[in-house]
């Protein structure tokens, strides 16, 4: 299992170092620095030297590194790194060099608690916050009864929830966030279109509520089976937060759970059939001789005109030897960014059922070597509120609690793309 845990900054200085086992020396950190941090061409997140393996995850110029000397479960190690990052985020907001330095005492306490002898332990943020606090001495001001409550929670069946939560107003917010992955070929055929959906929930509910959740879904395991008609959405796969009872879902397809307090990700799903693409991009790119490239890029919105796409950013790649680009756009702003070799076209808002067209010419300098332009794809980022590309709708959310209070439920839908909506040309 994990033998040591390090955090490095970009220069390769060790910010945090915790050895869980005696089979490693502290000097192992130097090896990582030489092999990864100062190596400009790292081709794998896992590096094995002899029988020592280094797993690293990068975030904001930091390296989160786990070192192990055995045949560790790689997925577990990476999940642990991700989890550490999310815990750190919830404790002190941003994870960067400065925040790590400012909170190093807290981090040591945390990594000691969430990992014992290299085995990850309870890592539920909510529970951790109840006994690892930013205030100093905690053992004196917590009565033993209270701390045994903590321990039962930390080890109990519902380790993610405290029993004694109280709210004046009982509210639950459900956000359905869908990320569309698209790659379209130069001929306009869809190579791949799928939706990664997340259902995020913010629960502000008193007591220990029992929730039931319903979607217009239909889980398709066997694609060749007959498909019933109707508006049901076919989900290829879904995965749930650990609070959801998987056995009940398996037997009768109900999603029932006791939610943690506050924000969490209830489920993730994936859908590939009948993906409605909110934006259509029609590019026409011509290389005129060796000195010019002309662009005509049309963006069409493909949803009801009551909705609108916001913060649309279209990145149109240009050849490496571009000097200037003349752009003409009817709305938004377009600018050539030489550092990234793209024209960035920002449109704050496009109403549904509309289209806008970018036209421009890139001027190239003549180069001595004739290198073929790789033509990276056009990339579009956008957000569309109250629209789901998969067509998923939340049917109901029921909350049952002993005291029988009424609760207010809110549902919001959002479809977005960031760096995954690609059109080749």
């Amino acid at each position: 299992m994990i033998s040591a845990f390090f955090i490095f900054n970009q220069k390769g200085e060790v910010l945090i170092s915790r050895l869980y086992r005696t089979d490693l020396k502290r000097s192992i950190a130097d090896v990582f620095r030489i092999q990864v941090v100062s190596n400009s061409d790292v081709r794998s997140p896992i590096i094995t030297l002899g029988s020592t393996s280094f797993f690293h995850v990068r975030i904001n110029n930091l390296y989160i590194v786990c070192v192990t000397k055995c045949n560790a479960n790689a997925a577990l190690v990476f999940e642990y790194c991700y989890r550490f990052i999310s815990i750190a985020k919830s404790y002190f907001g941003k994870v960067d060099e400065e925040s790590v330095k400012n909170n190093f005492v807290l981090i040591y306490e945390l990594i000691d608690e969430i990992n014992d002898f290299g085995y990850p332990q309870n890592s539920e943020i909510d529970t951790l916050k109840s006994y690892i606090t930013t205030e100093s001495v905690m053992s004196t001001n917590i009565a033993p009864e209270e701390s045994s409550k903590i321990t039962t929670q930390a080890t109990g069946a519902t380790s993610w929830r405290r029993g004694d939560v109280k709210y004046k107003k009982n509210e639950a917010f459900v956000d359905v966030v869908e990320t569309v992955n698209l790659s379209m070929s130069a001929k306009g055929t869809v190579l791949r279109a799928d939706v990664d959906g997340h259902i995020l929930m913010r629960a502000y509910l008193s007591g220990t509520p029992e929730c039931k959740f319903g979607l217009n879904d239909k889980i398709v395991i066997d694609k060749s089976a007959d498909r019933g008609a109707g508006d049901a959405v076919e989900l290829d796969d879904c995965r749930f937060h650990q609070c959801v009872r998987l056995d009940e879902f398996d037997s009768d397809r109900t999603i029932s759970f006791v939610p943690p307090d506050g924000e969490f990700e209830l489920m993730k799903y994936r859908s590939t059939s009948n993906v409605k693409l909110p934006l259509r991009i029609i590019p026409t790119v011509n290389e005129i001789g060796t000195t010019q490239v002309s662009y005509i890029v049309t963006v069409k919105t493909n949803f009801s005109n009551k909705l609108s796409a916001t913060s649309v950013v279209v990145r149109i790649p240009t050849p490496l030897n571009t000097t200037t680009v003349d752009c003409k756009v009817p709305s938004g702003k377009a600018k050539y960014v030489p550092a990234e070799n793209v024209v960035v076209w920002k449109i704050p808002r496009i109403q549904g059922q509309q289209e806008v067209t970018f036209s421009g010419t890139a001027h190239l300098t003549s180069t001595t070597t004739k290198q073929v332009w790789a033509r990276p794809p056009i990339d579009v980022d956008f957000q569309v509120l109250m629209f789901t590309a998969s067509g998923l709708i939340v049917r109901f959310l029921k909350v049952f609690e002993k005291s029988g209070y009424n609760s207010i439920k809110w549902v919001r839908y959002l479809t977005k793309a960031s760096g995954t909506y690609q059109i080749r040309f």
């Binding site: 094995t48 029988s51 997925a75 917590i142």
Partner: protein
């Protein structure tokens, strides 16, 4: 924080630690369970004899503490104690106490006890940790309540349970199946590992198919998590689809690369795309590969080009369009693209003799672009092989041999063979005669490399004694190459799949081959094991890996006694598994190795006249045979060079 300080201080200044022990002991009896747990946790991190002595007594109490938090901490402490002083831990009866914790009422305690026992069980000197049906069922029922990490430990430990009846395995698989929709990718992969393991013990075809179908979607979903997890998932998928091809057979599209994927993800995806390519989807895959061939990263482009060629060899219906694609790529004149294309085209020629020879002139045009040994050797082979169809073959050869002495050995060998072939085709031509004479002379007189020199002598004598017979030998019909060789041996695959999700599955190597002290795993024979799996059963590799420096790789003499000792306990009542007594224990079938080298080596090696080459395979310089890909080296050529692999020990030692 004070505790943390004490841990480090205690390790370095062991004599002063005495001073703090009393306060530790006091804390161990504190009313607050958090403090109690913290105290034993801290003590167990300091592996000095004094502390351990003080700890043992406290630990015994804590393992029976009424608070589950203390119990779960204590369970891990036992593992720590065991690492520090195995004898003491065993004498103190701690292992038995851990076993009792397996049936604890609290799921977290159970899972930590499992983790600790697995840790102890993995040690070579440790006690053997096996599960029977009752305990396994108890663990399964704790599964639902434990934390995500706990689920991983529990699932992992199920590998230690050997089903005796088909039914047991089937029921258990159904209970594990629901874990596939967990959000934590490690849980999913571990669950898949168990399912794959249990499937070896099942007989209900329908259920197995159902499981395969269920496994597909979660695997694909793993691709939407962070790039590092994607990478782990992809490397595992590569293994899984070789063993159970039905898992993802319709999903080739999800493995198409995104432009901004990290390079390691792209390379892994490429490999999977090639594996999943079939008649129906070959066109899509080819279009995608062509797209990649124009990207920026040199390695990726090379691999993409090579995949196009391999696709042509694998899916014969797509061969025409693949060749066209390769020719288009050659027109780009980008050096590395052309070189890769030439290398694969050579293989395509071998696969479809007489079908694509029309493109040879095009290849000859680009002769000047080739500057790497492998591509040059490939081109030389083509010129030699088809010398009768290339009008100016002797001119070309003359150019190529101009710097004969300065070429790398690989190219020299190819040149030598090619010039002999040329001579045989064009025995009348004066230039050819002069050429072969010159090459043979320099190969035998000016060169120190024994391979080259010997081959030179051999040809010389062949030609001297009887040129016609020489012609028959050198231009003999070559066995057609297939892509079968890039499939892993089934037994080795079964064994690797027991490591799904771990480092071993990423490198596609058994952990005991690259990690010192790592325990190998093997399927255990039982009445329920299905006959096919039993046939290819690979007994566990030697439990003790000698230090790498002493190790002599290759199928050398192997102690048959060790072999039988390993097999015997399994075979007491059953007919012995078909492991030949002479077969070395560490080989993933080095018997297979010998058979296969004939075809793979022939598939790659240019001269095709065997003899000299087959010796390489059996010579001690052959790669370590416990590597399941070992016999593929020739099939992939330099291609395997960018496979992820653990680095050797030397580098590590130098750094310290």
């Amino acid at each position: 924080m004070v505790y943390l300080f004490l841990i480090y201080y205690g390790r370095s200044k062991s004599e002063q630690i005495n001073l703090v022990i009393p306060s530790f002991l006091q804390d161990c009896n504190d009313r607050n369970p958090l403090i109690r747990a913290l105290a034993i946790r801290t003590m167990s991190y300091i592996p000095t004899p004094v502390v351990i002595d003080a700890l043992t007594e406290q630990l015994r109490h804590c393992l029976k503490d009424r608070d589950p938090y203390v119990r779960k901490t204590a369970a891990i402490c036992v593992a720590k104690l065991y690492t520090a002083d195995p004898r003491k831990a065993e004498k103190g009866g701690f292992v038995e106490m851990l076993r009792d914790l397996l049936v604890d009422s609290n799921a977290t305690v159970v899972s930590n006890a499992v983790a600790a026992l697995s840790e102890i069980g993995d040690r070579q000197d440790g006690v053997i940790f096996k599960l029977n049906l009752t305990i396994a069922n108890k663990l399964l029922s704790a599964l639902g309540e434990s934390s995500e990490w706990g689920q991983i430990y529990i699932l992992d430990s199920l590998l230690r349970y050997v089903p005796e009846r088909h039914k047991d395995a089937e029921i258990m698989a159904e209970r594990v199946l629901i874990q596939l929709s967990h959000a934590n990718s490690a849980v999913v992969l571990t669950a898949i590992k168990i399912l794959l393991y249990l499937m070896n013990y099942m007989e209900d075809r329908k259920l197995m198919e159902h499981i395969c179908k269920k496994m597909g979607p979660p695997l694909v979903t793993l691709l939407s998590s962070g790039p590092e997890v994607q990478y782990v998932a992809l490397r595992n998928i590569l293994l899984i689809i070789q063993r159970r091809p039905s898992v993802l057979k319709n999903d080739v599209k999800v493995f198409f690369c995104k432009y901004n994927d990290p390079i390691y993800v792209k390379l892994a995806k490429l490999e999977i795309m090639y594996r999943l390519a079939r008649d129906e989807n070959a066109r899509e895959v080819l279009a995608e590969l062509q797209e990649y061939a124009s990207e920026v990263d040199v390695d990726f482009v090379r691999k993409a080009v090579r995949s196009i060629g391999r696709l042509a060899i694998k899916v014969s219906t797509a061969a025409d369009s693949c060749i066209q694609a390769l020719l288009d790529l050659i027109d780009t004149k980008v050096t590395y693209v052309v070189q890769e294309a030439v290398i694969v085209i050579k293989d395509v020629f071998r696969r479809f003799p007489g079908r694509y020879e029309g493109i040879i002139p095009k290849l000859c045009e680009n002769l000047d672009l080739l500057d790497e040994p492998e591509s040059k050797a490939a081109m030389v082979w083509i010129v030699g092989q088809f010398a009768d169809k290339i009008d100016n073959a002797d001119e070309l050869m003359d150019d190529l041999t101009f710097n004969f002495l300065d070429e790398p050995v690989e190219v020299q060998l190819a040149l030598l063979t090619a010039s002999v072939k040329l001579f045989i085709y064009k025995a009348q031509s004066e230039t050819a005669k002069a050429l072969v004479h010159r090459v043979l002379k320099s190969a035998t007189e000016d060169i120190d490399n024994p391979d080259l020199r010997d081959r030179g002598f051999m040809y010389w004598r062949l030609l001297a004694i009887n040129p016609t017979v020489a012609g028959e030998i050198v231009l003999a019909e070559k066995p057609a190459i297939t892509t079968d060789s890039d499939r892993m041996d089934r037994g080795a695959l079964d064994q690797l799949l027991l490591h799904t999700g771990t480092l071993g599955s990423i490198y596609h190597k058994n952990p005991e081959t690259f990690i010192r002290n790592a325990a190998g795993k093997a399927l255990t024979d039982s009445p329920a094991l299905n006959p096919l799996s039993r046939q290819v059963l690979v007994p566990i590799a030697r439990p003790n890996l000698p230090p790498p420096a002493v190790r002599v790789p290759g199928p050398g003499p192997v102690e048959p006694s060790a072999q039988t000792a390993l097999v015997e306990p399994v075979t007491t009542s059953k007919p012995s598994p078909p492991v030949l007594p002479g077969q070395p224990a560490e080989a993933s079938g080095s018997g297979v190795d010998l058979i296969e080298t004939a075809s793979t080596n022939g598939g790659h090696d240019e001269d095709g006249d065997g003899e000299g080459d087959d010796d390489y395979a059996t010579s001690p310089s052959a790669p370590i045979t416990s590597d399941p890909y070992a016999n593929l080296d020739s099939a992939f050529g330099a291609y395997m060079a960018d496979e992820p692999k653990p680095h050797g020990n030397e580098q590590m030692n130098r750094l310290f």
